[in-house]
């Protein structure tokens, strides 16, 4: 393994959460719906139907490109990509070939930068399900997903380890979520990962003479495992002097392994040509600036700001910016606390990280209130606490004896009695003080 270097590129498909489809007005939300209940002439590929592109989907793709540092095309267009499969209603997919909406870009990772090759917009296919009907193996087709806007992000083969791939994917996922353009839910398939994996002898230049594409990965963890599985498999083969087959493999969760799906005997011939049903798109600097202005603060910028402005360490800040919602919650809490309490942003950050409040249920103001109450009780005088404890111990000799005999629950019983007389008290503090008293008697 030490003699080789992993060469990994990623293709990521993200379903946009627009209201309507890429080229028709059917609902884009297809998850959990009854089969074939969300279709129209366009997404069902009926004769005579014509596509009209969704403006929001185009804008969101540009937005993602801008967030990734891509160059936005001045002129872009859609193309037809031809192949036959039962989930593809028209015999072609409307996609983008030589003039994608976005080119270039970069996502930094702790292992090094990962360059973006391109970002383009296309339509999703229907969904297949395999079944046995009347003793015959059949495939069932549902076209609800057909025509849902799908963004494809392709990286350069800059990734050198499964860990780096995972970090990149997490960052991309986070950016997409921050932009609010997709649920990016891998379980539901609204974010799909396809690594292209190969190994190169250390010291060699250029791309290896083969690559293996792995599909059917629905979590970051599986992406990492699948890549590592492939890297080991390739290394074994290369050691034996063989070159791994150029093919598509699928991740088999049960086997914890990749399995061969389809051998690419020759490169597919998709016969791309410009989609004649859709006029080209041209973007002015003004249009792009307008889209740029709708991009929120992105995770990396927020992280820097949180460490700088709030004095948080990198680890805490990272935890807080995991989602835009949590980061906003923290900032709102800091705002509420300022001037009304002595809590520092660091106190609040710790409290949020440790207490993990339900941010949908507990408003930041309420959270600060509860934090204040908790801290106030702790501040209640030791004198009062000792007085109550002494009284309780004196009145419950049996429980004290039981505790001495090793019965730990007795301490809990005694704490309950103390707390009954100091209702707002901090249980941890009581228990600690109680134990000290018990142990010292």
């Amino acid at each position: 393994m030490d003699t080789y270097e992993p060469i990994i590129g990623l293709e990521i498909h993200v379903e946009l959460k627009t209201k309507s489809g890429m080229f028709c007005g059917c609902p884009a939300d297809h998850f959990g719906k009854k089969p074939n209940t969300g279709t129209c002439p366009v997404c069902l590929g009926l004769p005579g139907a014509l596509p009209v592109p969704n403006k929001k989907a185009v804008e969101w793709t540009i937005m993602l490109g801008l967030a990734l540092g891509s160059t936005i095309a001045e002129v872009s267009k859609f193309d037809r990509k031809h192949y036959f499969y039962p989930d593809l209603p028209k015999g072609y997919q409307i996609s983008q070939y030589d003039q994608p909406l976005c080119r270039g870009g970069m996502v930094p990772t702790s292992f090094g930068d990962v360059r973006i090759h391109r970002v383009h917009l296309e339509e999703d296919t229907g969904k297949l399900q395999h079944a046995t009907v009347d003793g015959k193996r059949v495939t069932l087709v549902d076209f609800n997903r057909s025509g849902v806007p799908l963004v494809e992000i392709v990286t350069e083969a800059d990734i050198r380890s499964a860990e780096q791939a995972k970090e990149f994917l997490k960052k991309l996922h986070q950016i997409v979520r921050y932009l609010g353009i997709s649920d990016a839910d891998m379980e539901k398939g609204s974010m799909r990962l396809e690594p292209n994996i190969s190994l190169r002898k250390i010291g060699e230049k250029g791309l290896p003479p083969y690559k293996v594409e792995v599909k059917n990965i629905n979590s970051f963890r599986f992406a990492e495992r699948a890549i590592n599985y492939e890297l080991e498999r390739h290394a074994r083969m290369l050691d034996e002097g063989k070159i791994p087959l150029q093919e598509t493999r699928g991740w088999d969760e049960a086997k914890n392994a990749t399995v061969s799906q389809r051998t690419k005997e020759e490169a597919a011939d998709y016969r791309y040509f410009p989609e004649p049903d859709i006029p080209p798109m041209r973007f002015t600097q003004q249009m792009i600036t307008n889209i740029q202005s709708t991009i929120p603060e992105l995770p990396d910028a927020k992280l820097t700001r949180f460490t700088k402005d709030f004095g948080l360490n990198n680890q805490d800040a990272s935890l807080l910016i995991e989602s835009q919602e949590l980061a906003d919650y923290f900032e709102e809490a800091v705002k509420v606390a300022t001037g009304r309490t002595n809590f520092s942003p660091k106190d609040i950050a710790n409290w949020i990280i440790n207490r993990k409040p339900d941010i949908d249920a507990v408003m930041p103001a309420k959270f600060i209130e509860s934090m204040r109450e908790a801290k106030e009780v702790v501040a209640v005088s030791d004198k009062d606490l000792f007085a109550v404890i002494d009284k309780v111990l004196a009145e419950n000799a049996k429980a004290v004896a039981d505790y001495k005999a090793g019965k730990q629950q007795s301490a809990m019983f005694l704490m309950g009695l103390v707390r009954r007389q100091l209702p707002k008290s901090d249980t941890k503090l009581i228990l600690d003080t109680l134990r000290k008293s018990l142990d010292s008697t």
């Binding site: 002439p41 069902l44 590929g45 009926l46 004769p47 005579g48 139907a49 014509l50 596509p51 009209v52 592109p53 037809r80 031809h82 036959f84 039962p86 209603p89 028209k90 015999g91 072609y92 087709v141 076209f143 490169a267 011939d269 016969r271 791309y272 040509f273 410009p274 004649p276 049903d277 859709i278 006029p279």
Partner: protein, 469 residues
Amino acid sequence: MNSDLSIRDIAKKLRSKEFSSYDLTRECYDLIEKVEPKIHAFITLVDKKDALARARKIDEHMTQSPLAGIPYVMKDAYLTRGVRTTAASKILDDFIAPYSATVHKKLEDAGAILIGKMNMDAWGHGASTENTDYGPSKNPWDLTRSAGGSGGGPAAAVAARLSVFGIGEDTGGSIRNPAAWNNITAMKVTYGRVSRYGAIAYASSLDTVGPTAKTAEDCAFVLEAIAGHDPYDATSSKQPVPNYTKELEKSIKGKRIAFPTEFYGEALDPEINAAITKAREVFVSLGATVTDVSLPMLEYGVPVYYILAPSETSSNLGRYDGVRYGYGRNLFTKENKRRIMTGTYALSSGYYDAYYKKALKVRSLFIEEYQKLLVNYDAILSPVTPIMPSKFGELLNDPMKNMMADLYTVIVNIVGLPALSLPCGFGKGGLPIGMQLVGSMFSESSLFSLGHAYQKVTDWHMQLPQVLK
């Protein structure tokens, strides 16, 4: 025979109750019963009871629309909700359209009465309506000859007065060629003038939807009803729709007509040449100027068309996989397969640049050539077909000759221009001859006025075919 009247007259008489839509519609059905067995223009005849019931309803609530209560037919390339739609292919033999094409919807809204879905070359592939899975249509002027194509059915039906007007679809001449061979008038519209939504695509960048009728004026009435922007067709134009029937009356004095000399060479049948040369004189007598010009790229039109159209059709026919509707791909005809295979080859890896891309570049050259010319001219006077109506089998068995039949029509589609095809004489055996007036983008109005002026002083278009005699 009231179906022989103009749309203007019918509209007037329906309102003065000289006859009703019910009478007119029934008359069409009676004539169909007599004539249709001879010419075979229909694939699907709308149920007489349904059509008459609709006519009755229109009679009771007559609207403003000049097309209200008027029976019409459509090439079977349009989806008509609830009515079988086949594109003349067995693949769609039992396909009941679950939605309506925009053009159908507009005509329904105008109160017109659909009576039939008409024969054509399957998927539009042909110029003779022989390449149909439902038996060829016969020319009402000579039953041993083809009705032209691909829209032979609607043209033959209008020629035989089985319907007042028809809706055709023109990708490389499919409206104009049958119009010329059947002695009727038809408008191939500017690309984008009429919505293609619900029109079964042959070659998307060339397909247009247009009217076929007896006169330029009738075509103007129909185009007024069907033209306009459609949010369901991204290539449809937002240009306002002129009042064609009003502008039609404009004088053509001083109009400049170009006469491209290359078009009148050896490839052209001498009878057609002679007829159009006479028509040239008529235009001069009406006050227009006709000038010899040169359009040297003529010979490259057919090659560009036979790259673009097969390529796009190979893509457009991909959806017919028998999964959601229709039957399997084994039912494509020989001609369908020829075009699908040619197109697939032209788009395939390693050949795209030499064929499809090259054709798109030559298309730019054509646009330049025509734009340059049409800056100085209101119309180009051109033949429609190089040959007289063909005998059965003549084109079907000779793919090369079949291609050349499109010589004068395809460039118009490649550039996207409008063209009015209209009768201009008869040859040996009383076979009709047509000519076309080609204008710049969105100049339909001007073409109508030229055609209307010509038809006011000629009577070719008023002649009835043999089959009615």
